[in-house]
């Protein structure tokens, strides 16, 4: 294996594009190194992006907040501007692993590892985030939900890498929330997870909403029917029941030791309701 630590993005692209054999991007390494040591992958080249300064920058502009691909989830939790604008995204990122893992793990890695149970992904989908991708043919942007195509698989082409995650500008009276169910409070993988991002007007009517679920399909999914149930309504019992029903209906989970199909389907609805309530309260909604 060859280890490369380029100092610029063009160098990283050049290394990824010209590498012969199996090439992997190393960000935090909390998935990649485990898979290497477990013998699941045998890279010929590993391209570490952590020496590229831009990859660590969290930048706020009129276009929203951009988070460099090598930014650790722990660093996100210490960024007050980001936390205030996107509390749901930050709480999702901060749920991943221990302090040791937080110091290294990244949302870009979480996205590219493409686990259906990835914690930050439903929150990013609900936020309407995009990934900035750089490759041999230049830059392109992609909604986060289009990056993973199935467990462990992404739509990235040879030579391409995610360089940043871009969150849109935060609207007034708007907030997000993320909840997951795990048997343990720490160091566990989501059995089901739900993220809700919503905007309300002065009369407490929801004017915009995005809902996403994790660990209930081959990848994190957006649930348009649940969004439709929220938009145009206030957050009452009836609305919440419709959200839960739509979320349960969208589930196509697996049966495994951590949860049955029936259980995951039911809990998805419950978590979506609670996430909607949390986002609503943060947005300043009153019943």
């Amino acid at each position: 294996m060859r280890y490369e630590a380029p100092l610029t993005t063009p160098e990283a692209v050049e290394l990824l594009a010209s590498a012969k054999g199996r090439v992997h991007v190393l960000a935090g390494g909390t998935d990649l190194i485990v898979r290497m040591k477990g013998g699941f992958i045998e890279p010929d080249v590993v391209v570490d992006i952590k020496r590229i300064k831009d990859m660590h920058v969290i930048r706020k502009s009129a276009a929203g907040i951009s988070i460099g691909a090598a930014t650790s989830c722990g660093a996100m939790g210490k960024h007050s501007v980001l936390k205030k604008a996107w509390p749901g995204v930050v709480e999702a990122a901060n749920l991943i692993g221990s302090d040791q893992v937080q110091g290294r793990c990244t949302m870009a890695g979480n996205l590219c590892n493409a686990s259906p149970a990835a914690d930050s992904v439903p929150a990013l989908i609900a936020a309407g985030a995009q990934v900035l991708i750089v490759g041999p043919r230049g830059e392109r942007r992609l909604p986060v939900e289009k990056l993973a195509t199935g467990p462990g698989k992404t739509s990235l082409k040879k030579g391409e890498l995610v360089t940043a995650i871009e969150l849109p500008p935060r609207k007034v009276r708007s907030a997000d929330a993320y909840l997951r169910f795990t048997p343990r409070t720490e160091m566990d993988i989501a059995v089901v997870s739900a993220a809700v991002n919503l905007t309300i007007d002065r009369k407490n009517v929801i004017t915009d909403a995005r809902v996403a679920l994790g660990a209930v399909a081959i990848k994190a999914i957006r649930v348009p029917a649940a969004e439709k149930a929220l938009i145009g309504n206030t957050l009452n019992e009836e609305t919440l029941a419709a959200v839960a029903k739509a979320c349960s209906a969208a589930c196509k989970p697996i049966d495994d030791k951590r949860g049955t199909v029936e259980y995951r389907t039911r809990v998805a609805g419950v978590l979506a309701k609670r996430a909607a309530q949390a986002a609503w309260t943060r947005a300043g909604g009153k019943a």
């Binding site: 294996m1 630590a5 935090g28 952590k50 040791q100 110091g103 290294r104 720490e186």
Partner: protein, 157 residues
């Protein structure tokens, strides 16, 4: 392919040879001879291999040795000042916060990282901060008490 890595470990400039796919954990133990770093799980779950890298607590099993070129690494061997133990070490002994001892270096480094950022942690904060370190002997209570006692003593110092 063997590469030379130049880094700073516990305040000393250190150079070591390292394979590209070798973890920092293996490099510290087998190349540098720092056996205080322990391998429990090798997958980032148990924290026995915890070290502080450029001020951040990490699992050395999830870091490649090559990554620490030009960086600063702190291990349990750097805690004591010669024969004089660090307060954390004394308090762990005083409170019997260890039995078999395999997890102890990781707990000490995690506790050190916690107290640097938060000199007066609540019990809940201590338990969350140490959630990435597993101990199968003590049941954690004694470890939490040792960290509380250390925090109290360091605040007075």
């Amino acid at each position: 392919m063997t590469n030379l890595v130049n880094t700073n470990i516990n305040g000393d400039a250190v150079g070591f040879a390292c394979e590209a796919d070798e973890t920092l954990l293996d490099a510290l133990r087998n190349r540098v001879g720092l056996k205080g770093v322990k391998e429990g799980c090798g997958t980032g779950d148990c924290g026995a291999c915890s070290v502080i890298l450029d001020g951040t607590l990490v699992c050395s099993c999830l870091v490649l040795g090559m990554e620490v070129e030009g960086r600063t690494v702190e291990t349990v061997e750097g805690l004591s000042n010669g024969a004089e133990l660090h307060t954390l070490q004394s308090k762990f002994i005083e409170h019997a916060a260890l039995q078999c001892g395999i997890c102890t270096p990781g707990f000490l480094m995690a506790a050190k990282a916690l107290l640097k950022n938060n000199p007066d942690p609540s019990e809940e904060e201590i338990r969350y901060a140490l959630a990435g370190n597993l101990c199968r002997c003590t049941g954690y209570d004694k470890i939490v008490r040792a960290v509380q006692a250390t925090a109290a003593e360091l605040r007075e110092a």
